[in-house]
Symmetry: C2
Subunit: 140 residues, 2 copies
DNA sequence: ACTTACTCCTCTAGCGACTAGAGGATGTGT
DNA sequence: ACACATCCTCTAGTCGCTAGAGGAGTAAGT
């Protein structure tokens, strides 16, 4: 459990080796002790922290937000309004992104469906991109 | 219509001035003629090209894909299978992104809903991020 | 003991698609 | 004549890594 080399903590946390070193460099992960041969030695705490980071990154949280979340995690007696608000912001952002991707999906489907694979002169894909007014959603 | 300065073509195409110069630099937009005082002078063709680029960027196409699409647009007699396949790829990617965002949305909703704004020690947001097994979707 | 193969170290540079800012020239309106 | 907007080039920064060079330490097999 303790004194894992970077490769093992990488495998277990699913965070790539250079990324772990990068996280150390930007101060997201504390610099661990080193072996006699100057290798990083990680413990269970580091593994938990890395898993936390990786999970949050997967969920689309930015490094800065994760920094805040980690500070909160380190101080469990603080009020959690901030964590909640970060998650709420993220949710709003995700909803917005879903909405615009749905519009995009419709537009792409119209493009792809309308093209009969002849030549570019008659291609709906090119046509739609060239002429904004042929869009399904003129707002953008 | 012709001999617009960069600011005007920017306003009309909705592409920012430095971005237009950047597109010129990377060879996405041909370098226009210059005025006596060394200012770029754009014509209707450039405006159309920029609008095409902007529209495609909005739709999430990468610069490289746009480069291909522009080449196709410039040669209308080529078969359009490639344009079609680029759009199809993009559609698949968009669908995948929508799906993962929907899963994310659920997870964030569970986080936000489960937290009663007390203190971090009881916060579901932190808890879920720290412990992967509390996720709704264990795959990721 | 020696070799091979692997992991690890530091360091620098690169990615994509811009964006920001410095420092200066040109153009427009009053 | 002057103010002010717009333009020019150039360099460097953003974010979150990723790739590669060049070298050192370590584990397993012979």
């Amino acid at each position: 459990m303790t004194d894992m080399p970077i490769g093992e903590v990488s495998r277990r946390s699913q965070v790539k080796v250079p990324t772990i070193r990068y996280y150390e460099q930007i101060g997201l992960l504390p610099a661990p002790p080193r072996s006699e041969g100057n290798r990083r030695l990680y413990g269970a705490r580091d593994l938990r922290r890395l898993s936390f980071i990786r999970h949050a990154r997967d969920l689309g949280f930015e490094i800065d937000a994760i920094r805040t979340l980690l500070t909160l995690q380190d101080n469990p007696s603080l009020p959690c309004a901030e964590a909640d608000s970060i998650a709420r912001d993220k949710l709003a952002e995700v909803n917005a992104r879903i909405e615009s991707l749905m519009a995009l999906k419709e537009e792409l489907e119209a493009m792809v469906g309308g093209c009969g694979h002849r030549c570019v002169g008659e291609c709906r894909v090119i046509e739609v991109l060239a002429d904004h007014h042929k869009c399904l959603h003129a707002e953008h």
